[in-house]
């Protein structure tokens, strides 16, 4: 903490020359529909030893800016049409990156500027060993011999805290976990000791605990090597944890620039304020028991906590008992079943009418499989599911189809969950037609009503999904789910693909619909802060099992299970004065949920420490 203060005070009296200074950068893309200006006019500087966070929502031009610095933007069809990008070079003349020739640029890329990409699954070449990936850059930019590069590679892996580096060198990307892969990507970027490291959403695709590990790693490397970091992200909480200075971008323009404390405590621009207000913060809801809408400045809707009083007697709607779902793993010459993925293992919980139950956990914990098992989109192996007293498991095909009228689902990716060939009217009317709920004449009225409920203009009815933004599509998906008046809506990461401001709007919509229609939600999410905002009850999943269940306040204010605490500790806090991502964080990796055929896990034993607050004890 003190070290950081020293650093930021040093920034105020900056005497060093900047490593990079962008001066009125402008980048355009030629498309069929004409010229698109991705970056309009951006100027900022990055000084040695500091982290500058470039923050903005999708389409703000933050990635294009970073790609322009690497001159990679040309490979994606972009063109730098104006401005200068000056790079101070060690012992050489300052280069203007918007004009340098291809050879000079190649000697800068990976050597003086390193880059980390978002998706560790695709930014490593699957057919090369880790050694080959790591040493490629070294061989290109240095004159080291083969054995020296190998030593250097091992050194790099140690530096990014990868255990067993000699063994890892011989492995291929698919043999490593997502977190390990991202560490390799960082090691590659660090290979030639760049003076500037560009990190483009390096943790967006990662789980929260791995995100914390990677963020702390980048911080440590920055401290140890004195390099500058240009960190691109959409996540304000990550900004608060990482940045010395912040540059806020919106639609290709620079909105605001300042130190991290200035931006968070006294934002000047309306856009920055709105962006900050839309971020749900962990711990913000302490002491309340009901979900509460997010503040959206400028939005006309009155923000009031949802009443929780829905005029119906408090009554159990969904009861899940000992649900088990496994996926077979086939192997051998005869493609026989050799193992099972224990996706959902003996999970039990209940949801009351008008209540939101959240399932949280990291990828692979079985939370999505659990939701899909309840709808029987995947067939559970055993267990019981009662919706309003009706045994879902025992239903045959036709009965199940009609039972699904009462439980609907909203999926994660709003770009893939709407049929691109259907107009919105047909999309929303489809469930009505499927269940034969309305005659031709009524359908139009119902669709109009529902569109109003999800706050979309009725002129949208003739549109196709590609004509809508991500948030609007998710509203359509919600409309499609609630049009048949279900009692339960399962939302599988329904807001995680959306920008924060849009996420806030969609969450508020979901809460107001709950208030109005008495819906129950099974809210599946990896985002602890969002979960705290919307839920009445929370279940924490780990390796297919529920490790802790309780009311929102029980889980968030009094977490008991070790894993719940780990999760909470790893969530970045959106406040630069409370930096919780520090030094070297490392969490126990999640073991594999694959077990040989015939493996019977022991029955879970829960301890009830408070009314409704259950903790797994084995």
């Amino acid at each position: 903490m003190s070290e950081r203060n020293k650093l930021s005070s040093k920034l105020d009296t900056q005497v060093d020359d900047p490593i990079v200074s962008l001066d009125h950068l402008r980048v355009e893309f030629e498309t069929d529909g004409g010229t698109v200006v991705a970056v309009n006019d951006i100027s900022f500087k990055v000084f040695p030893g500091e982290t500058v966070c470039l923050v903005g929502e999708s389409g703000s031009g933050k990635s294009v800016t970073s790609l322009s610095l690497m001159r990679l933007v040309e490979f994606g069809g972009g063109k730098i049409t104006g401005g200068k990008m000056l790079l101070a070079r060690d012992g050489k003349k300052t280069a203007n990156l918007s004009e340098v020739d291809v050879d000079t640029m190649r000697s800068i890329r990976g050597n003086e500027i390193g880059m980390i990409f978002q998706e560790p699954m695709t930014s490593l070449n699957p057919v090369f060993s880790i050694e080959r990936q790591l040493t490629d850059g070294l061989r290109l930019h240095t004159n080291l011999s083969a054995s020296e590069t190998r030593e250097k590679a091992i050194e790099l892996l140690e530096e990014v805290r990868i255990p067993d580096p000699e063994k890892r060198l011989r492995q291929y990307p698919h043999e490593l976990s997502g977190g390990m892969r991202q560490r390799v990507v960082i090691a590659m970027a660090m290979a030639c000791r760049p003076r500037l490291l560009i990190a483009d959403e390096p943790t967006t695709a990662l789980d929260v605990t791995i995100q914390a590990e990677i963020l702390s790693l980048i911080n440590r490397l920055k401290r140890e090597t004195g390099m500058a970091v240009l960190f691109i992200t959409h996540d304000m909480a990550v900004v608060a944890q990482m940045a010395d200075r912040v540059v806020v971008m919106y639609q290709g323009n620079l909105i605001e620039e300042g130190t991290v404390n200035e931006i968070f405590s006294a934002p000047k621009e309306e856009y920055t304020k709105a962006l900050l207000a839309a971020v749900p913060q962990l711990g913000q809801m302490a002491g309340t028991s009901l979900p509460s809408p997010l503040n959206i400045p400028g939005a006309s809707a009155t923000v009031k906590p949802t009443s929780g009083d829905i005029g119906i007697e408090k009554k159990t709607l969904l009861e899940v008992k000992n649900l088990v779902t496994r996926f077979p793993v086939y192997g051998g010459i005869f493609r026989r079943k050799v193992a099972n993925v224990h996706a959902v293992e003996n999970v039990s919980f209940t949801i009351d009418r008008g209540e939101t139950m959240a399932l949280v956990g990291e990828s692979g914990c079985g939370k999505s499989s659990c939701g899909r098992s309840i709808l029987r989109l995947v067939e559970p192996e055993s267990g019981q599911i009662f919706l309003d007293g009706k045994n879902i498991i025992s239903l045959n095909g036709t009965e199940l189809r009609s039972a699904r009228r009462d439980m609907q689902m909203v999926f994660q990716d709003p770009y893939a969950s709407l049929n691109p060939y259907m107009r919105l009217r047909e999309q929303i009317a489809e469930p009505l037609n499927n269940f034969g709920l309305a005659g031709r004449s009524e359908v139009d009225d119902i669709v109009h009503d529902i569109l109003e409920k999800v706050e979309l203009p009725t002129s949208f009815l003739r549109r196709f999904p590609h004509e809508l933004s991500g948030g609007q599509r998710q509203r359509v998906a919600i409309a499609r789910a609630i049009v048949v008046n279900p009692s339960l809506v399962i939302t599988d990461e329904a807001v995680s693909a959306l920008d924060v401001s849009v996420q806030a709007q969609v969450l508020n919509l979901m809460m107001s619909l709950q208030d109005e229609l008495g819906l129950s939600y099974l809210f599946i999410s990896h985002d602890m802060a969002v979960v705290e905002r919307v839920s009445h009850k929370v279940g924490v999943m780990y390796l297919g099992r529920l490790v802790e269940v309780g009311s929102r306040s029980q889980i968030f204010e009094n977490p008991q299970h070790e894993y719940t605490r780990t999760l909470m500790a790893a969530v970045p806090i959106a406040d630069p004065k409370k930096r919780n991502i520090s030094n070297d964080m490392s969490f126990k990796p999640i073991p594999s949920p694959v077990f040989p055929v015939g493996h019977t896990p022991e029955n879970p034993i829960y301890e009830e420490i408070e009314d409704g607050h259950l903790i797994l004890r084995n």
């Binding site: 189809r401 990716d413 691109p420 469930p431 499927n434 499609r480």
Partner: protein
């Protein structure tokens, strides 16, 4: 109106014009031109290059190539479209069902298709044609069946991909039946591939008919078809290249037109393309 506008670009205009010309020729040429024009031999004018009397030249028996191309159009187009339609009628449902349901259904259907695939298409058509006897209808059946496995395989792959899309799952969870899912959700989304593949198949079908005719199983001489004409020209390529060029150009223009038309049709049907 906007759909009509989508056709009006370079590709669309050329494609529609070519296809329209070929179709009009196929329909009207036999009504206007007396059939004996295509079969009338003139031994003194064998293999004559294009000239005033025969402005596209003549073949090895002195028959006028212009009339033969015009009159052969109906046979070629008829066989090609009927055969491709037939393979679509069988292959499309087969591929859809196989890809959508997967599992055992898929295994059984695809092993059947693989069996057919293991024979070269032409050999298969040849066998079928030989068994059924050489006439127009049997040629269509032979080519149709020979093309079916390729189409079925392709459609099955696409259906498999689309069936796993979240929008299909979303529709299923909102109560859609299997038939509704296949026809309403999977089919529209695989149409682009079906259209492109069908237009390519049409070209191959014209050539397949040529192969069968060459072996005496397709169109029977002295009737004219483009394939038969190309086959007949093989011995005279060095002396009289026009005997191959004339019917070859007819096939090439038809295929070009069909491909362009297919591309534009795919774009028109795709709501994501800009109008």
């Amino acid at each position: 109106m906007s759909i009509f506008k989508k056709f009006l670009n370079f590709k669309g205009i050329i494609g529609i014009t070519l296809v329209l010309c070929v179709v009009l020729i196929a329909i009207f040429a036999p009504l206007i031109i007396p059939p004996e024009f295509a079969t009338k031999m003139d031994m003194r004018a064998r293999l004559s290059p294009p000239n005033m009397a025969h402005w596209m030249g003549t073949d090895q028996l002195g028959r006028d190539l212009f009339y033969r191309v015009m009159l052969g159009a109906r046979t070629s187009i008829n066989i090609a479209t009927s055969a491709v339609l037939m393979s679509l009628v069988i292959g499309l449902p087969l591929g859809l069902v196989s890809g959508y349901f997967g599992g055992r259904t898929d295994n059984v259907l695809m092993r059947l298709v693989d069996t057919l695939l293991s024979f070269p298409a032409l050999l298969l058509a040849l066998t079928i044609s030989a068994v059924l006897g050489p006439n127009l209808q049997n040629t269509i059946i032979a080519i149709g069946i020979a093309f079916t496995p390729y189409l079925a395989r392709l459609i099955r792959g696409e259906a498999l991909r689309v069936a796993q899309m979240p929008y299909v799952e979303a529709a299923r969870s909102s109560g859609a039946t299997n038939s509704r899912l296949i026809i309403g959700h999977v089919l529209p989304n695989i149409m682009p591939v079906v259209i492109v593949q069908s237009t390519i198949s049409l070209a191959f079908a014209i050539l397949a008919e040529a192969g069968l005719s060459f072996l005496g199983l397709g169109t029977q001489p002295p009737e004219a078809s483009w394939g038969l004409m190309i086959q007949a020209s093989r011995d005279y390529l060095d002396r009289a290249p026009w005997t191959a060029l004339v019917p070859g150009t007819a096939v090439a223009l038809t295929v070009l037109g069909l491909n362009m038309f297919g591309d534009v049709l795919r774009d028109v049907l795709d709501p994501r393309s800009q109008s």
